[in-house]
Amino acid sequence: MALKERPKPFLLPDYCKGCGRCLDACAKDCITLSDQINPMTGLVPVELDLTNCNACGMCMDACPEPYGLRPAHEGEIQDFELEDPAKLFGVKPCDAPEPTDIPNEFLPLPRTEPLVIKGTYASAVGAILAGCRHVYGYPITPSTEGAELMAKFLPKLDGTFIQAVSEVAAVNMMYGTAGAGLPTMTFTSSPGFSLMLEGVSYMIGAELPGVFVDVMRGGPGLGNIAPEQSDIKLACHGLGHGNTHAITLAPSTPQEMLDLTILAFELSFKYRNPVILLGDGYLGQMTGKVQLPETMIKPGIPKWAVYGDAMHRKNLISSIFLTESDLEAHNHHLNAKYEAMKVEARAESFLCDDAEVVLIACNTPARTAKGAVQDLRNQGVKAGLFRPITLWPFPVEELKAAIQGAERIVVVEASAGQLEDEVRLALSKAGVRQFPELESVRRMGGVLPQQSEIMTRVLGRKEVIA
């Protein structure tokens, strides 16, 4: 009795690939391979002769194609071969609702006394105040304290900290949570950051926000765990494969570790792009005075997210654009975003207005350089410090203003010239051809430039390239 109520199959030959999986499934031998090639598909479809069909449905179960063998319900058009597929199968790609943004809420905080905490902790607290409750990471010195603090705090806030099997897994957990539209971050250090770059490229391609705190250490290879500004080139010009850029922030105090982490979340959602916060091993470990902000964020859900609910069902997170023209268009779109990010360029110019000698430095070396500027001023040398706070985009307009009256420019860095390369590239792209020869104070291998070395360079005009 039940059998009679079941529908028999029908098939639009254009949607049959002729695999023949239905042939064996039919106990009544109703199905045979045609002897004609379908001109639309170039394939040989099956043919149905439903004379003996008992509507067992096994053929439909065996058909791999969603629009292959289908049940012909009573009343459904039987001359289906002549019908428009839109009428047969429907036209709406998806009946899910059009998603809308659920905005962030800004909640007031009382004014508190400054905390006395180390840089990685300050960054972790900043992330929590920015609304981040999902942190994924892999232990790596000298960034681990950030993850440790998150592992302690987040369960108390019903958040999630997962120690991933590797940095590769960590960045892809971020991809998932970011894809769901929520703020997420990791703490890592140079070798770990290298390992995450595949995921960073995917996040940029799929336009996902996320904050990477990279507490840079000595390299290459395993290098050591002492501070080096070793990843400026990676963050500014090497974020994995493809046309990738991300705003790169370079804090120089524990206070900035907090402030710039909060800013990083804001920018990463504003542009739907990862943001990199480059610290150095000293800054990560350095304890200092940290004033908390007077608002915190409860994040909403952006309209593009795949949150896993009805509102966001029609969304897709993906970095694939199989058609060349689509991928080119996507790259134009990314380029337009990168161009728009230029307004985020930030810098500090310290005593540069009348400076004859301008030091350029970021992170902890910028503090050393600031000490040197003070010392040089005490000795009657008109020195100043230009400190890029964003390394990408490089604050070239601010740099141009800072070096306007400079007779000498000294780049102070704990790397083999990665910051200097950014300075040169920025000036070159801005069309600045005339500027004093760049002098260097460089240390590597986990050694930071010393104030005395900067003094020697400026006063003694001696090369300090250890």
């Binding site: 949607y15 179960d61 897994a169 892809n172 595949e198 915190m296 795949v306 069902r313």
Partner: protein, 476 residues
């Protein structure tokens, strides 16, 4: 079988839905993916979870899963689908997350993610399509390629130098994390019914919050096995099944356990976790200790791990900040976890610490002889050296302008019954020798640091007082 509502009416994402691509998959004739897709779609439909479902597409032929499934879609990097799935699951614990992966993705490049995610045990559902070959890249050896099976990268057949096929269902079932592991096939009607049931059960376990489930599907790849679809079905049955036996590999009865509260955004709670307070600390300083430096005092504390140099440094920084000054503390350690060198650079500045390093400190607190020998000569002229005379028997000769204070930190602390308070003795000595801040400032910082261990406050106060007394005795 009937198309379910979970499959899009039209495949707009498949070449913009043009021509036949609007309703035909990109899979080759006879490919097992199409069936696995249908069974998965039916299961989602049957459980009524379409709106909550997030499907993670892998890299491989099923990279375009999102062309077809009318659910939330996220496309992952090669091998990373299970951890992307975790990211989605923890972001929204109510979502139902499916990691759909092929053999190269799951059993080769993503093996670490696969195993770690299975062992983590969070309720996600992994659908593993094992067809013993790489499809999308064009017929290369897969981790699941059979011994003797030829592929473009094992042209004379997989041999012992290529290693053995990976039996993922057995491996995953051997872990403690998963609750349900089954291997199914698609080669005949009976197996297809079992496959459908297994997929539906795996999803149901997730919906109920019972745990992680893993369904391995032996699937056909006629194109790269270079056989007809019919021959491929036969090959899977006769050649694959003996190596990859079908059936339930693990099926635990577990009560629902995955319950996650919504994250907390209460300001008071966050502030209390960070230790932030709205209470203003009492201030005792009349001004910056300009007798030491007009604006920025540089200190170095040096000893071995366990001497408490870092704690003392932290207390100095806290004391300074409680007085409204700026301060920094940079620790540095030897590579040893215990007992190595332990140095701290501390700066106290009236408004802003410019350079936080202390290569030439004004004040040195040395806890042992090597530290004194190393840093004593770096102390600036007119500076202060305070060292533990209990352990340093012979002090190095320093610039005569430097004021030297030998204080038996260890001896005093031991007499007090707790050798660990020697750093507090040292702080007392520092206070008396340099008058960097008033005593009350230090005592305030010590009390704040010990607020959770109040019983230790009197001992520390005593240690601090003894440090002061020792310096005063030296002065006399």
């Amino acid at each position: 079988m009937s198309k379910t509502s979970v499959i899009y009416d039209k495949f707009e994402r498949h070449s913009h839905g043009q021509g036949l691509k609007g309703h035909a998959t990109h899979y080759c004739p006879g490919c097992g993916h199409g069936l696995a897709h249908k069974f998965l779609a039916e299961a989602i439909d049957a459980l009524g979870i379409q709106d909550r479902t997030v499907a993670i597409s892998p890299v491989g032929c099923s990279v375009f899963l999102y062309y077809y499934f009318d659910v939330g879609n996220s496309q992952a990097a090669h091998g990373r689908a299970p951890v992307v799935a975790l990211g989605h699951k923890f972001a929204n614990p109510e979502s139902v997350v499916i990691s759909y992966q092929g053999d190269g993705d799951l059993a080769s490049i993503g093996l670490a993610e696969t195993v770690a995610t299975a062992q983590l045990g969070a309720p996600i559902t992994v659908i593993f399509i094992n067809n013993a070959i790489y499809g999308m890249t064009g017929g290369q050896m897969a981790p699941t390629t059979l011994m003797g099976q030829s592929s473009s990268t094992s042209p004379s057949g997989r041999n012992e130098y290529n290693g053995q096929p990976m039996k993922m269902a057995e491996m995953i079932a051997g872990l403690d994390g998963p609750v349900y592991v089954e291997r199914v096939a698609l080669f005949d009607a009976k197996q297809r019914i079992k496959a459908k049931k297994a997929i539906q059960k795996a999803l149901k376990l997730q919906v109920e919050g019972r745990g992680y489930s893993f369904i391995e599907v032996l699937a056909e790849c006629p194109t790269h096995l270079k056989m007809s679809p019919e021959e491929t079905e036969k090959w899977v049955k006769e050649c694959m099944e003996p190596v990859y036996p079908l059936g339930v590999k693990k099926d635990l009865t577990v009560e629902p356990w995955f319950h996650r509260n919504a994250p907390c955004f209460k300001g008071e709670k966050i502030l209390s976790l960070t230790g932030a307070t709205t209470e203003h600390p009492e201030r005792f300083c009349k001004g910056f200790p300009t007798a030491l430096d007009p604006s920025d005092v540089s200190l170095k504390l040096a000893g071995s791990g366990g001497d408490g140099a870092q704690t003392a440094a932290m207390l100095i920084a806290r004391a300074a900040i409680s007085e409204g000054f700026d301060a920094t503390h940079i620790p540095s350690y030897g590579p040893e976890s215990r007992g190595g060198t332990s140095y701290a650079d501390v700066h106290v500045a009236e408004t802003e610490v410019l350079n936080p390093g202390s290569p030439d400190p004004q004040i040195l607190l040395a806890f042992n002889a090597p530290s004194l020998a190393k840093f004593g000569p770096t102390v600036r002229k007119g500076g202060y050296v305070i060292y533990d005379s209990s352990v340093v028997t012979e002090a190095p000769v320093l610039d005569p302008s430097i004021k030297v204070f030998p204080v038996p930190f260890t001896g005093i602390a031991t007499d007090l019954g707790k050798a660990v308070v020697k750093n507090i003795v040292a702080l007392g000595a520092l206070q008396a020798a340099t008058n960097i801040f008033p005593k009350e400032t230090f005592l305030g910082a010590i009390r704040v640091a010990l607020k959770d261990k109040c019983a230790l406050i009197p001992l520390n106060e005593e240690a601090f007082a003894w440090g002061i007394k020792s310096v005063e005795a030296l002065d006399q």
